[in-house]
């Protein structure tokens, strides 16, 4: 009881009021741990432990069958993975999708945000809602609807192209069309959030800067390049980070969109493996070929890749944010 008493004695109100506001009563000394306990326990069991376990499993042969214990095989999974052409395909496909998503989505989102930010646009609420709604639409649903829209025989897209005498194409069944089809879906689904960020970024630019540019004789294009672009830099980098992260982890949309194509049982990554991404490759290894240890090795590789890209981004982001923030103030 002795220590408790001494803690108690420190909790006189005058001290609590004047001094640091947390070193108070006995209660507040234990409180942070009590508040943290549920989180830390769950976090350790379901995030820290699996992360370590994942590294261990990646070094084993493990089929997930009842009674089959993971069997240590060293780096064999990684060696096999690097020699597997499908892994290389999934890597390049993922990189392709990430780059294409950025190239297609960032300008679209920026354009829409700039227009929505003007004072003269009509039907603003309708337009905003229409462009925001994809956030409120389930991913699986979007992908299913796009299967119909992309359909060779009764899809709206082919009907539209047919009006111009083009097509019909089997968008999800022809290797050359698979990636553009995926990008089309992502353009629909992934433009909203960057647009929101750009809108917020644009609203943070003081109008006086544009007036100053105008006084200096800058036309719309010059003030776009000299004012808008530099001041949106922090937001653009954030958008870039988010898009690349989403692209590295993409699974659901492609799994559903290519459900009926390619080799049987929906996990082949579509015709010619054109839609095989890293996570799809992991899924296929683990659940179609029942090689969970190998899948775990793919998982660790995705993590290392993601971490590498994240660190590069953070480094650039951190460096550039200071610069952008300085210009903003």
């Amino acid at each position: 009881m002795e220590p408790a008493l001494s803690v108690e004695s420190r909790s006189d109100p005058s001290r609590a009021r004047s001094g640091h506001f947390v070193r108070g009563s006995r209660e507040s000394r234990f409180a942070p741990y009590l508040f943290l306990a549920p989180f830390l326990i769950l976090f350790s069991i379901f995030t820290i432990y699996p992360a370590a376990l994942g590294i261990y499993l990646s070094l084993t042969k493990w089929t997930g069958a009842v009674g089959q214990e993971p069997e240590m095989i060293g780096l064999a999974n990684y060696r096999r993975m690097l020699k597997d052409p499908s892994f290389i395909t999934s890597l390049t496909n993922t990189a392709w999708l990430a780059i294409a998503a950025v190239i297609v989505i960032v300008p679209t989102a920026l354009f829409l945000a700039m227009i929505l930010n003007t004072h003269w646009i009509r039907l603003r609420t309708f337009l905003r809602t229409a462009f925001f709604l994809p956030i409120g639409t389930p991913t699986v649903v979007i992908a299913m609807v796009f299967i119909v829209i992309y359909s060779e025989h009764y899809g709206a897209l082919n009907w539209l192209l047919g009006l111009f005498g083009v097509g019909p194409f089997d968008f999800t069944g022809t290797p050359a069309f698979v990636k553009p089809a995926i990008i089309g879906l992502l353009l629909w689904q992934w433009t909203s959030v960057p647009m929101i960020y750009f809108l917020a970024g644009l609203q943070g630019i003081p109008p006086s800067l544009y007036d100053a540019a105008l006084v200096d004789g800058a036309g719309p294009w010059a003030s776009f390049r000299r004012v808008t672009i530099p001041l949106l830099r922090p937001v653009s980098l954030l958008v870039f980070v988010l898009l690349v992260n989403d692209a590295i982890r993409i699974f659901d949309q492609i799994f559903i969109l290519l459900f009926f194509t390619g080799a049987p049982y929906q996990t082949s990554g579509g015709p010619g493996e054109q839609g095989l991404t890293l996570v799809l490759y992991m899924y296929r290894s683990a659940f179609r070929f029942r090689e969970l240890g190998f899948g775990a090795a793919v998982g660790v590789s995705i993590f290392v890749l993601g971490l590498g890209i994240a660190l590069v981004q953070l480094w650039r982001f951190g460096a550039l944010r200071k610069e952008g923030g300085g210009a903003g103030n």
């Binding site: 943290l36 956030i135 009764y154 047919g162 659901d252």
Partner: protein
């Protein structure tokens, strides 16, 4: 011409070209306006198509040109849907989502409160670990988590869909950023008034943090309602399916029975409704939350 906004009236262009440039600007604006309305309709088209398709007969759905409004309203898709596990899956999804979102908010806000209000040993280290977990794509954890689920005998259970996600580093981080900005006088005042630490958390900090809690709830709701990969690998019992997995099971049946298409679209429509409602109601908070997270 995206930067037309920057042209402001007060500074007049050279007088001679004025009429012409005004005229040109008006034409450009009208063109952009039309372009944007078309783009908005394109953005809405998949949703309109989905709702209208869910009321079509399969023969109409699979014929050209695609009709915007069904020629004959046929609720057959919905009737067929009722004979599948869909109603059960819907309830499952709501149950899992509500529980997972509320538990995540509770556990994460408690942790965020601790990080924001107290100074204690290892605070920085712990916080860095939590923030570092944001870099960890959850996909990577799926296989080891699966192994953990097998060991815990949690395969095919609801808790497998809920418990592993409750400790959300993302939520802790964002709520923490909000709570550190709360005025410390309020907390001190409460403490002087003899409020327990729990009361300070529950009756002072939580109500003040309501805007960010709202935004995080929407984001978590969308995540959970969408969650597909994990339920796909831990659930085998069709009775326990959540909507994304159940709907995919229906989609698999389309392969053999084209008739299922309207049922799939009907299911898609019903699955979209709660999410759109939550989104529209919380739109303002969501947008504020997204941008708040950015400022942090």
């Amino acid at each position: 011409m995206p930067a037309t906004e920057t042209e402001r009236r007060p500074v007049a262009p050279p007088a001679g070209s004025r009429d012409l440039s005004l005229y040109r600007r008006r034409v450009v604006r009208i063109l952009i306006q039309v372009l944007l309305v078309v783009a908005a309709l394109v953005a809405l088209y998949p949703l309109i198509f989905m709702v209208s398709g869910s009321f079509k007969r399969v023969s109409e759905l699979t014929s050209l040109p695609p009709t915007l409004i069904p020629r004959a309203f046929d609720p057959g898709g919905y009737e067929q849907l009722a004979t599948t596990g869909f109603p059960r899956w819907f309830v499952n999804s709501i149950f899992v989502t509500v529980l997972r979102v509320s538990l995540t908010i509770l556990v994460s806000s408690m942790a965020a409160f601790a990080f924001a209000i107290y100074r204690f040993p290892f605070r920085r280290t712990l916080f860095i670990i939590v923030v570092g977990s944001l870099l960890l794509p959850f996909e990577v954890l799926y296989l080891p988590l699966l192994s953990l689920m097998i060991d815990l005998d949690w395969m095919n259970t609801y808790q497998a869909l809920i418990v592993p996600f409750v400790a959300s580093g993302f939520s802790v981080f964002v709520i923490h950023q909000y709570m550190v900005s709360l005025p410390s006088e309020l907390i001190q005042a409460a403490r002087v008034d003899g409020a327990s630490e729990w009361r300070i958390y529950w009756n002072v900090a939580m109500p003040l943090a309501r805007p960010i809690l709202g935004a995080i709830s929407v984001i978590l709701f969308i995540q959970t309602w969408n969650s597909f990969f994990w339920p796909l690998i831990v659930l085998q019992d069709t009775d326990l399916f959540v909507l994304p997995v159940g709907l995919t099971a229906l989609l698999a049946r389309v392969f053999h029975e084209q008739d299922m298409w309207t049922a799939v679209l009907a299911g898609s429509t019903l699955m979209t409704i709660p999410m759109v409602i939550v989104f529209l109601v919380m739109q303002r908070q969501l947008v504020a939350g997204l941008t708040e997270g950015f400022k942090a």
